[in-house]
Amino acid sequence: MKNLHVVGQSVERPDAYDKVTGGKGYPINVRLPGMLHGKMLRSPYAHARIVAIDASRAEKLPGVKAVLLPRDVPQLKFCPVYFVPVQAPSMVQDFDVMNGDIVRYVGQPVAAVAATSVEIAEAALDLIDVEYEPLAAVFDPEAAMQEGAPQLHADAPRNIAKNPSFEFGDIEKGFAEADHVFEGVYQTQRAHTCYMEPRVCVVDMDRQDNITIHVTTQHIFGTREKLAFALGIPESKVKVVKAPYIGGGFGGKLELTAMEPVAALLSKKTGRPVRIEQTRQEDFITTTRNPIKVYLKTGVKKDGTFTARYAKSVLDCGAHATHGSEVIMVHGAFGVFFSYHAPHQKWEGYTVYTNNMIGGGYRGYGAPQGSFAVESQIDEICAKLGLDPIETRLKNSRKQGEPHPFNPAFTLGSYGLADCLKQGAEKIGWAAARSSPKDAGAKKRGIGLAIHPVWVSGCMGFPDIYEHSGAIIKINRDGTADLATAAMDIGSGQITTLCQIAAEELGLPAGAVRMSSQADTDNVPFDAPTHASRVTYSAGNAVKAAAAAAKKRLFEVAATLMEASPDDLEVSAGRVSVKGAPGRSVSVAEVAQRAESPFVQMTAEGPKPTTMEEKGTIIGLASLSPKSNPPPCAAQFVEVEVDTETGEVKVLRMVYAHDIGRTINPKAAEGQVEGGFQQGMGYALMENIQFDPETGSCLTSDFLDYKLPTAMEMPRQMDSIFIESDEPTGPFGAKSLGECCVITPAPAIANAIYDAIGVRFTTLPITPERILAGLGKL
């Protein structure tokens, strides 16, 4: 790789100061004149028929400006997920904004009000009388699949919303060829992303149906498309304002919910902007990571070679399929099927309706659930057969240059899995730690590993999923540049890295490229969502192309100024110079000024004309799809200490090695890895949205009862290793990182616990109580 000046530097985040001084760029801080506050009334029943709604008492409460009932809401069925077309055939279209006949989970919106204060709006909800006829409910997906179970949707027999499968080879033959067959059942739980900024929107909708919406979204064009569909109006009527940043998303803000259309309709009804901010409790019952139960069976030769793999995955999607149509596919492919080679494989997936809350997107999108099964079982295989866990993984995984398992048109052009394993093992001292004797006391230490062999950089090649990006770059007269894109910064530093990519391509110093704070769906090109670990790779490639286009124009203008050929020019550190003659140079600022200067300029020597060719703002535009979908991969090592008397687990150390092609910003990348580990560790040990098994109401509705790891629980020693395999199709060699680092913590920790105490846990989270029960002490 040629010398890089800005890419690879830990450039400071331009949004950091703004965020620590109040964060005026967050949608939660938007206030409009005359704004009202909306609140939704939610069903207390998990499954019931709505007999009658009487809102007359609420309407009379002073301060209440409008009440919205199901009859005021277009009764349309659609898929609210942002990254697919609203009626994508691959997705289930069963979502509705406010159903007037039936509720299918505790928390389903049945009415809404707009009032002059939040307090009045809440008080008004208590005055809406809803008569329900309770129906039998089902909360367990396998029970829901039985004949005779309550049916949630008429067109889904046995409550199966989706039933995809993959198969190749002859699975029976594969198991017959095996020396050993391992079987296990692995159950994961419902977890929330716990983004810091709640879901919030401020919507202004006029009588002509023109909408302006400020909203916490990971995809402004997705919000536009789905909101327009939900209201039955043309997309162009909806302007979604791009917030400079949102307070986290992690996949949790990737679909339209009732909030946006309800706020819009309340706004239209009242003629005033309406703001809805969800409480943490509402957020906890709006989207979650789907629980998946995986039945996994693997056939193995004596030497550890896999002969056959079979898996069945049952996903609880709750009352509506939404993301569950796609999560099951990503889970089956990238979580289970593509992880290791085996000549004979079969997978069956079931996305099943229950009267639980709706599932949703969450960083990793089905892969953490698969990885927990696959990486736990390979550890069991190694332990039973006395095989080396690193060698066995390498023996069965893919190698650089092999075809991409998802799309054989792509190859694994850069693939550093072996380096991830090697460097990670060295860093944590794997060999010595595995062979050292266990402590005699109550607290036992153990070390474990898990890998994620194939992940994505965007969705290029997936059916029905949007995957292209756009960018506009304008060079200013002071030698800086403005970048405008629809790619959302959801907290992971997209603004910083995209500006670094632009600065590198334009030959400007770090900090000279600024992300425009004024963008909306009217004035920037389409971009797919900030999801699927795509922004650095996909949006990065578009930004690089826009910068290249601006640079081409920059050289054309500079060439007239310098009386040189554009082909002979280069730019670095903000100066354009002739290749091989660094003395002949002008600053980018001078070139930009010249391009925007008057045709005739007065000089000391008198009037002097400039040329027609050099006129016009220097601007570059790109809107393009990425070339490939190169896989990052990861190897994770952890050391834990298990208290065998109380069941408490402490994670002492973690080493996480990723092949991400190229590190654009090392500090931001480390932040991604440590944050990903934090979420993965919470998933492994504590996080769990719990429901009352009788009523289906949420028992863990805020951070008093739902715990995620804080600085106090995090390991004292964390090392991130980045393998730079230089992806040929990536911007300056980069692939992706965002989701890869949340996939393996749970199996790595489970494997380390096994190493410490010799007990295998197949249900998440591995709580102290489960540990004590596993040790036979309860």
């Binding site: 307090e119 809440e122 008080a123 943490r280 408490e648 715990k707 106090m712 629980e713 004590l772």
Partner: protein, 289 residues
Amino acid sequence: MALQNLKDFHRPGAVEEVLALLSENDEALVLAGGTFIRGLEARGLLNGLETLVDIRRLGLDTIRVDADGIEAGATATLAKLQRVVAAQNAAWLGGLADALDCPPLQIRNTATLGGCLAASCPFFDIPTALVALDTEITIRGSDGERRLPLPELFFGLFANALEPGELITGLSIPHAAGHSAGAFGKLGAHANVLAIVNVAVQLTVDGGLCSAACVALGGGVADTVVRSPAAEAILTGSKLDPAALAAAGEAVAGDIQPLSDHQASAEYRRAVAKVMTRRTLERAVARLA
């Protein structure tokens, strides 16, 4: 959620005014640090609340230390008591010092001593530590002042023994007699979680034998903080040797009636109460040395 029906917010400057307001209105709630009230509000449990009486202007936030012990006002924060206890650096206050380290910093800076007792929440840490120290509270009512040994305040789950119109104004922690040390232990899956089990112990030795022992447990081992007479009986008169500590740990199981909730089952609480008691006793014994 919000206090949607709140009509009156009083900030009286004298205890008598507070008592008058409380006796006029049975449903009024006293606001001190507000951390517990905020939690109830967030869960929609105070939607009907009409009157709040803020007692932070009464000047009840003082803490005094002398040879008799510690006298603290009801609105002194946990953080303030923590600073006082840290300055004492005394073995007999070891349990309280341990317990004051448990709540998150933000809670310590806001929550008050009176509030954390009046809440009568068995999952809190400070009340367990105060029970082990034989703390007494001072209560004011229209009939005057009365004092109550701490365990008697805890009437049940989130229920206290205050009569209508009464207010906790302060607490006193008597200086432990003789050679005494305390320790406190909390089991929670997380630093910021309510306790699954907590244990506070206070041990006094005389001539190599334990002359007095107090073992208090909280965190959902029962509806309230409880003492374990069985464990105390084993310890008193013993040499506090490992066998005695282990036996005392086993003995607490008979004195508790643990709850099951989303955090842990009763069975798990019973199992770890024994371990936590033994471990906390070991720490107190180490402090006696």
